[in-house]
């Protein structure tokens, strides 16, 4: 597998096939005497901002400390949580709702319960 070509920027689906972000960055583990391996994938606006430009990254980091549920985050999902990669999509073993990946989504969904039709 070519990491940048086949892993970076692809869609992530959680255990219940909910779209849970894109692979915004890849963490490699360097091992003495053996080839490096993928330790985790990183997801979130903070990661994305850092990848776009260091300046944007530090701006997002500052914002992250006081933005509440909308705070940009950088969530690391260990490679052990990946079940399989199929059709350029990563399927996770875990549910995204249990991770910070869902913080803004969950906060909005709760807000929506006050608006008729949010559950149609």
């Amino acid at each position: 597998m070519r990491l940048v070509h086949d892993l970076l920027d692809i869609q992530i689906l959680d255990a219940r096939r909910r779209r849970a972000g894109k692979v915004d960055d890849i963490l490699l583990e360097i091992r003495a005497g053996r080839p490096p391996r993928v330790a985790a994938i990183e997801i979130g606006a903070l990661t994305l901002a850092r990848r776009l430009h260091p300046w944007l990254g530090s701006l997002a980091a500052r914002w992250a400390q006081r933005a509440g549920p909308a705070a940009p985050h950088a969530v690391r999902i260990p490679w052990t949580a990946v079940r399989r990669i199929e059709r350029r999509q990563i399927h996770l073993r875990i549910q995204a709702t249990a991770t910070p990946l869902w913080s803004l989504e969950g906060w909005l969904a709760k807000l929506y319960t006050h608006i008729p039709g949010s559950g149609r």
Partner: protein, 404 residues
């Protein structure tokens, strides 16, 4: 039987959804100022949009990726941000223009100034997106959009000369006002090729779970739907060429475009025009709001889908809500809807290469399409039209702005 129904529905959607503020206004202006002369631009734009829409349907059916998903994946986040931000900005202005078109139709119907309609219109649009399914939005609005066929009826009743119409399909240099001619040519191309159309279409193909079995349906729907849709734009141009051009009338308001229909259809003309304008722009506004939400959600991998409950695609629903609010502001502060339309169409043309060329590279990548990559003809058509539109836009836009 099911496939035939699917094709019928698809074609109707294409026809009913084709005409919107941009194509209506630019075609009427072109006909009024230059007679049949700019018909070639509609033909070229329609040919190119057929190719682009077919491409986006093929990508979705074969690779199960929307255009946005695939562009981010293939080119990485840096390159992806450029088309994303450009298309988003242009789409927001276009959304303002469409909402303005709906408000203008209501002003023509009631006499109450268009700004006052902005908030009620946007509330109804939002409620439809919030509660409706993808099928309801796409097919419901398009079926109503068939009222725009009245432009074709009106044009035919004015007995256009077939040889003159056919002759105008060959591009020619203008006999007067070359900058204005170039500007209108570009605006027409922009109106036919707004990127939201193919982003929307590929997302729709994913929502409807297309597979390789849909490839031929895709081809028929793209060709016939967009083809007949282009015919409606052409009808508006022909009508304006017959009614306004001989009298030297220039189109500077939507109310004036309404006179075209009164001339051709008598008492029925005005109500039909108001209905066509209102429904066509309303449909486009729904599609653009959805497309903006599709683009952001797909770009960042959020849960999306118009068939998903709002609370299960919370960020996605938040995006179209926000887009509607921002675009409404343009109408409320009283920017003239026709002016907004003209600006958005010209901007679309300038930014077309940014949206279309990465997509074209993708369509030649066997990792995504296997044996279904683009043929040479599709590549040539898209590159030619897109680059032509952008170049003429860069030349004609400053001239038009300085002159006007």
């Amino acid at each position: 039987m099911k496939k035939i129904l699917e094709i019928g529905l698809g074609v109707v959607t294409g026809i009913g959804g084709f005409l919107e503020a941009g194509s209506l206004a630019t075609a009427a202006q072109a006909g009024a100022e230059f007679g049949y002369q700019l018909l070639w631009a509609i033909a070229l734009g329609t040919l190119c949009v057929i190719v682009l829409v077919e491409m986006s349907g093929r990508l979705a059916a074969v690779s199960h990726h929307t255009v946005v998903d695939a562009v981010r994946e293939r080119f990485g986040i840096h390159a992806f941000m450029v088309p994303l931000i450009t298309v988003l900005l242009v789409s927001l202005i276009t959304l303002g223009a469409e909402l303005g078109g709906v408000c203008m139709a209501l002003q023509l119907a009631t006499g109450i100034a268009f700004q006052w309609w902005a908030v009620p219109v946007v509330v109804v649009a939002w409620a439809l997106l919030w509660r409706g399914s993808f099928g309801l939005i796409e097919q419901g609005v398009s079926l109503l959009g068939l009222v725009t066929v009245s432009f074709l009826v009106a044009a035919i009743r004015q007995h256009p000369s077939a040889p003159a119409v056919a002759a105008a399909l060959v591009p020619r240099l203008p006999d007067h006002e070359p900058a204005r001619y170039g500007f209108l040519a570009v605006s027409i191309l922009g109106a036919s090729l707004t990127p939201y159309v193919f982003y929307f279409y590929s997302s729709g193909a994913i929502e409807d779970r297309w597979t390789r079995g849909h490839l031929w349906i895709n081809r028929v729907v793209a060709t016939m739907g967009m083809g007949f849709g282009g015919l409606l734009s052409a009808a508006v141009l022909v009508l304006a060429a017959l009614v306004f051009h001989p009298r030297g009338v220039r189109v500077d308001s939507y109310a004036q475009i309404g006179r075209l229909m009164t001339e051709a259809l008598g008492d029925w003309g005005f109500p039909l025009f108001v209905l066509s304008l209102g429904i066509a722009c309303f449909g486009a506004a729904l599609e653009i709001s959805l497309t903006i939400a599709y683009m952001i959600a797909q770009g960042f991998g959020w849960n999306w889908g118009e068939n998903v409950k709002p609370r299960d695609a919370a960020r996605f629903s938040a995006v179209y809500t926000l887009a509607l609010v921002l675009a409404t502001a343009l109408v409320v502060i009283g920017v003239d809807p026709l002016r907004l339309t003209n600006i958005s169409m010209a901007l679309t043309a300038v930014t077309l290469p940014v949206a279309a060329l990465p997509f074209l590279v993708l369509m030649n990548d066997r990792h995504y399409l296997g044996p279904h990559v683009n043929g040479r003809l599709a590549n040539v058509v898209v590159v030619l039209v897109v680059v032509l539109a952008a170049i003429v836009a860069v030349v004609a836009l400053p001239l038009q702005l300085m002159g006007g």
